[in-house]
Symmetry: C2
Subunit: 223 residues, 2 copies
Amino acid sequence: MLTDYDPSQYKKMSVAVDLLVFTIEEDRLKLLMIEREEEPFAGKLALPGVFVGIDETLDAAAKRGIREETGLKDIYFEQLYTFGDVKRDPRMRIISVSYMALVPLEKLSFKAGKRTKDAYLVDVEELLASDRSVAFDHKKIISYARWRLANKVEYTLIAFHLVPEGFTLPNLQKVYEILLGKPLYKANFRKKISEFIEETEFQTSGDAHRPSRIYRLKKEYVK
Amino acid sequence: MLTDYDPSQYKKMSVAVDLLVFTIEEDRLKLLMIEREEEPFAGKLALPGVFVGIDETLDAAAKRGIREETGLKDIYFEQLYTFGDVKRDPRMRIISVSYMALVPLEKLSFKAGKRTKDAYLVDVEELLASDRSVAFDHKKIISYARWRLANKVEYTLIAFHLVPEGFTLPNLQKVYEILLGKPLYKANFRKKISEFIEETEFQTSGDAHRPSRIYRLKKEYVK
DNA sequence: ACAATAGTGTCTGTGAGACAGTATCGA
DNA sequence: TCGATACTGTCTCACAGACACTATTGT
């Protein structure tokens, strides 16, 4: 490939990274979105994103974007898909490499439902079910990410990234149920994940019922 | 996102599509590669690829590339991953969106092992196991594609794209075995895929043993 | 004692794995 | 008849699904 490169023939384009930062808030899957202030799509919700620098790796751009939007340095993220429709952005040709990030709510400096800057935590199912318009082709991207997330829950340990380092099993199960969109049987769920976790000495307290033991992911499975 | 776009700050770059056209030849997984004639990496094997036109969708560019390299219009392909290391190409910054395509050998105008133009069918396992150098970061891309292919075989019907429309079960099983890298039990394999296929009236003939029935994928599962 | 949630034991059905057997062609 | 490969029947075992039971807290 690339043997016959002719700069005059192939115009260059801009490459951006779009970020899908997911978290769980009040037993709902939420996505970090911003309200656009300028045209096009002023007033609409959009995914946060950054342009990729000429000397910057895609992963590095994603990391930088996450840092700028959340203040967080070391959260889990992975490349999702690259969207390259010609008219995605009415102003110019932009290739968008989407990245999905997962973070437990505790790490986000967000209050429930409240805004920080122009950023909101948007209920994903609600957004996708509604006919509310979203900037650019971002609704399509969100829809794809939601699908991929549900898929990967089944054959990876990705759900653990949505939960604090120390977690209870009822807590973790709830996350699985939210991502899968269906209830699970307690006993079966525990059997399935038991090989990946280990007890800690801690447990919850203060609730008017039996306390719940705190577990953590075994070291060998921590990314 | 994209609210603060400043053209002087973010330089544009080139976007290319790299193609991984897989097929099965002589019971081996093969990949279509070309021998580079120019620097850099002259004489090395490389993935075929094309630059994405300014008014061209990523998928459209992939389709065009496949057409140019194989002469084929309607074969299965899917986007794989986007590679954006800064020094991938020593000449300039190129973002490479990789696409994986699958085609039965019968559709390719290739003779076993022989070249057409500068194109070869390269044994994938052999290439990956060897320390033979490959142009750019293409070895990494191939390695990733090989992994993804093995994965998707297990939970999709992707293997059917490597086999003609009418196929025998021993034939299909062999493809699964090649992709999975392990032998399968006949009876179990048949039970597993029986729901997706249907008999035709045809069978093989001429061999010194019991003929093999020709099957096809049920309509509802085609693509 | 009771409400509420945490946690466990076990039956069942489904499906993958393993292997042995039967079927049908050309020579 | 025989060699070779196509095709089928069935046993076993692991595991997901389903459900009932026990455990431990605060009030």
